[in-house]
């Protein structure tokens, strides 16, 4: 017989805000896996859109995409990345020239891509856990 305590004891990996994720998903690892996957899809699409707005030097559209991405990092338990995104969003004011934002965007983009890799790995871990539990 499966030990329910052992099965429910999923531990999110280091690098994530474990306590927040435990509060958010409350042991529902199936939900965590689904939300992580939809968050990854959302972010990949949004990063592509943001790149386009940087090329087109469209600061307001860039801000809108960034605003939309922001909470997604929260759902993935990466609250520090969410704060960085918030900081960047605050810089995307209409009178700011894109040249002033480009470097910051590329820096943030790198962090986002690292965050995505970390999350994809966690997704696999969650998937294995959920399969074993099924």
């Amino acid at each position: 017989m499966t030990d329910p305590i052992k099965v429910s004891a999923y531990r999110f990996s280091e690098g994530f805000d474990v306590r927040f994720l435990e509060d958010l998903y409350a042991g529902d690892t199936q939900m965590a896996e689904e939300i992580f996957l939809s968050s990854l899809d959302q972010l990949e699409e949004s990063i592509t859109m943001a790149d386009l707005h940087v090329i087109l030097k469209d600061t307001e559209s860039l801000r809108r995409v960034i605003h939309r991405m922001k909470p997604v990092f929260g759902y993935m338990g990466l609250l520090f990345v969410q704060e960085l995104v918030q900081h960047f969003e605050d810089r995307c004011v209409p009178d700011r020239r894109m040249e002033e934002l480009e470097n910051a965007w590329h820096y943030l983009r790198q962090i986002m891509c690292d965050a995505n890799r970390l999350t994809r790995k966690e997704c696999q871990k969650l998937n294995e856990f959920n399969r074993l539990r099924a």
Binding site: D23, A26, E34, R64, P71, V72, Y75
Partner: protein
């Protein structure tokens, strides 16, 4: 008690989480999810809900603009990742303001407020109003009034026996007779729903008088008349 609700949210993970929280709580049943405010507006024109979980920044019109356009908005729980909107949210008298991402416990707090807000709705206590006609106060029993008609800066109260004209606006009267079984059916008419005999295509028949009905009010009228 299960609240009927909708989600207006363009971010899929955010909508998914909200949907799961609603299911887990057993307190809110989500009847629809919209990715933009325009679609939600069209839905609310035809359907009545208790609560709307509403994002603010979305493609097209914003959550605030959506609230502006609703004549009878449901209770609103704003969901946003920006704290800057808190003041505006307060102005709109929303039930709660959830900052994304929020936990299940925080979500439950909101649902609790929803219950409080619903139970705070005052029971109709008044069954009469006083109107001033030619300098005299006249008491009108709610059950005697058939309908109230706007005449610009004046309002006409029509009862079975006679008509009274008083200096007032239909908007002001609407709030005064709220909870007395009256319903605004057109920008110029408020009707005592217990006196309605028939609902035709674009008119209500009240004791033989035909009252025009706005398209936007039709669903509410059908609900009030308990048409199955």
């Amino acid at each position: 008690m299960m609240h009927k609700g909708i989600i207006v949210e363009d971010l899929k993970p955010a909508a998914d989480i909200l949907m799961r929280f609603c299911q887990r709580s057993g307190a809110v049943g989500i009847s629809a999810h919209f990715l933009n405010a325009e679609d939600a507006l069209a839905y609310l024109d035809e359907h009545r809900v208790d609560v709307m979980f509403l994002d603010i920044e979305m493609p097209g019109i914003s959550g605030f603009e959506l609230m502006d356009r609703l004549e009878y908005p449901p209770q609103v729980i704003l969901t946003t990742s920006k704290t800057e909107y808190a003041y505006d949210a307060f102005q709109y008298n929303v039930t709660d303001y959830l900052r994304k991402p929020f936990t299940y416990d925080r979500f439950l707090e909101s649902v609790q407020k929803l219950r409080i807000a619903r139970s705070d709705v005052p029971e109709p206590a008044e069954d009469h109003i006083f109107i001033k006609v030619d300098g005299k106060l006249i008491r009108l029993e709610g059950r005697d009034i058939l309908y109230i008609e706007s005449m610009g800066d004046y309002v006409r109260f029509v009862t079975q026996q006679r008509k009274y004209i008083t200096h007032n606006t239909i908007k002001n009267i609407e709030s005064r007779v709220e909870g007395m079984g009256f319903l605004k059916v057109h920008r110029s008419y408020i009707v005592n729903m217990s006196q309605v005999d028939d609902l035709q295509d674009t008119n209500l028949i009240v004791k033989g008088v035909s009252i025009p009905v706005s398209k936007s009010h039709k669903l509410r009228i059908r609900q009030e008349l308990n048409i199955i």
